[in-house]
């Protein structure tokens, strides 16, 4: 298992962002769904080793991120796209991805080729020498995805990756996700149920910090049959599970 969470909890003062989440994930694409404030980003940040849990245990890629050595090894093999991608405006797209490839401790000799491959994979070849400040929102998102995948991660964590992408780019991105899911654990936090329907083999639904559903997209659809609200079957399952959790 690449991800093993046991009773994971995160508090910010009196606010409980994540409450007792237990989850195991091997290779595949996992969707993390939920309304605003459900705790998706906090959970993803804990898995990215950016945020320490308040309680519970967390094992990533077979290691405990509490120790300096194991944490460094996890981070070498991790790809992370935060919800708000920060960047240095004066960097070119290549500089940006290369910088993070080096900070991921990739062997310097492999970096230029890996950077070029990542840029091509997200279709930014014609913008490789463009400054980050000149990119559109969708292009910035793709540059963020490129830095996340540059080290061929075994654990890929993506927070709202399709925000700002047009429909055509979203289709291409889902295909990329499926490709990565064959050899890595990909966890995608999103509001868009169609992303989950198209690319994910399993779905976790969160509400108020708790995990209220875990299963396949088909199982989520089945929950909504007859009593869910929404245009698509998965949306009806989503709303039915949330309504049940809140009642």
């Amino acid at each position: 298992m690449n991800v093993e969470l046991t009773e994971l909890t995160r508090r910010f003062g009196r606010t409980q962002a994540v409450v007792g989440v237990t989850l195991k994930a091997g290779p595949g694409v996992f969707g993390l769904l939920g309304p605003n404030g459900a705790g998706k980003t906090s959970l993803l940040r804990m898995m990215a080793t950016v945020l320490p849990p308040t309680s519970g245990t967390l094992r990533l890629l077979g290691r405990d991120p509490d120790g300096y050595g194991p944490r460094r090894e996890i981070r070498r093999r991790l790809g992370y796209l935060p919800q708000n991608l920060g960047y240095y405006p004066g960097f070119t797209v290549t500089d940006f991805i290369e910088y993070f490839a080096l900070l991921k401790d990739m062997p310097p000799g492999q970096v230029p080729r890996a950077v070029a491959a990542a840029i091509e994979q997200v279709g930014l070849g014609d913008k490789a020498r463009a400054k980050m400040r000149t990119l559109s929102g969708g292009m910035l998102r793709r540059a963020g995805i490129a830095q996340a995948i540059v080290n061929e991660p075994e654990l890929l964590l993506l927070d709202e990756p399709t925000a700002g992408l047009d429909p055509e780019q979203r289709v291409a991105f889902r295909s990329l996700l499926r490709e990565f899911g064959q050899r890595a654990t990909v966890i995608v936090s999103t509001h868009l149920v169609e992303d989950v329907a198209a690319a994910c083999s399993e779905v976790t639904l969160m509400d108020a910090g708790r995990m209220v559903f875990h299963g396949t997209p088909g199982e989520l659809i089945a929950r909504g049959e007859g009593h869910g609200v929404g245009d698509a079957p998965l949306e009806r399952g989503y709303s039915a599970v949330l309504a049940a959790a809140r009642s």
């Binding site: 405006p89 910088y99 900070l103």
Partner: protein
């Protein structure tokens, strides 16, 4: 490799390629060479010294070495020296730690550094990056202070009494961190170095215990401690999760 444009129809049809040539591989090799940023001599030397190309890149891309920061640093130093000369009070020595601490905290903390969140998830420790950049900041300030020393005695006292020792302490911290691969060891070495620097200075004047007992020094010590506390609080605070 499946390219984004393969799926969105971005590639133009340019006719068949020879069967034994993988055009994707060839193109990637070319793109890697054309797009790559060739490290300069300073970056290559830093990579050897720090045993990390990532840290070297972080060093040469330090915002504090950019023109805007350089100008701000010069303005602060000139204003401080002017105040000192005009009023006869040691404002520069008192305010310098605060300026440096605030500068480092704001430039590389979660509030200002745009890539802070991403940096937190990298294999090269963000504390190592911070140490490297702190050394860059103090080294630059020391160089500016040395230049100003040619014109002003006050600047010389400030430079040799504070900036140069602080740069040395930072360098010591970074060296210890690099050798032990532990930023915590580096910080401990740096703090110990600073204490030794102060006590040695006092001992040289035959006032070894004055560093602790002289009430005149309480204010600067408190200011320095408050700045350190503020930096630590700011740098280690955990931003709220947004969802």
């Amino acid at each position: 490799m499946t390219g984004w444009d393969d799926l969105t129809g971005g590639y133009q049809d340019v006719g068949p390629a020879p069967g034994d040539v993988d055009l994707d591989r060839v193109w990637l090799g070319v793109a890697a060479q054309v797009w790559r940023r060739e490290p300069g001599p300073a970056e290559r030397a830093a990579a050897r010294l720090l045993r990390s190309p990532g840290l070297a890149r972080a060093l040469v891309t330090t915002p504090s070495l950019l023109l805007g920061w350089l100008m701000a640093t010069v303005v602060i130093l000139v204003a401080g020296v002017g105040f000192t000369l005009g009023t006869g009070t040691p404002w520069v020595a008192l305010l310098a730690p605060a300026v440096a601490a605030a500068g480092i905290a704001y430039a590389y903390g979660p509030g200002i550094d745009p890539a802070w969140e991403l940096s937190q998830s990298m294999a090269v420790s963000d504390r190592m990056v911070l140490l490297v950049r702190a050394l860059a900041v103090f080294g630059l300030n020391a160089a500016l202070g040395l230049a100003a020393s040619a014109a002003s005695g006050a600047a010389a006292a400030f430079t040799f009494g504070w900036l140069v020792p602080m740069t040395a302490v930072c360098a010591l911290a970074l060296a210890a961190a690099t050798v032990t691969r532990s930023p915590n060891v580096g910080v401990a070495a740096g703090a110990a170095g600073w204490v030794i620097t102060i006590l040695t200075g006092q001992a040289a004047q035959g006032r070894f215990t004055a560093a602790i007992t002289d009430s005149f020094l309480v204010l600067p010590y408190l200011a320095f401690a408050a700045c350190c506390g503020a930096v630590v609080l700011f740098a280690t605070r955990i931003p709220r999760g947004t969802s």
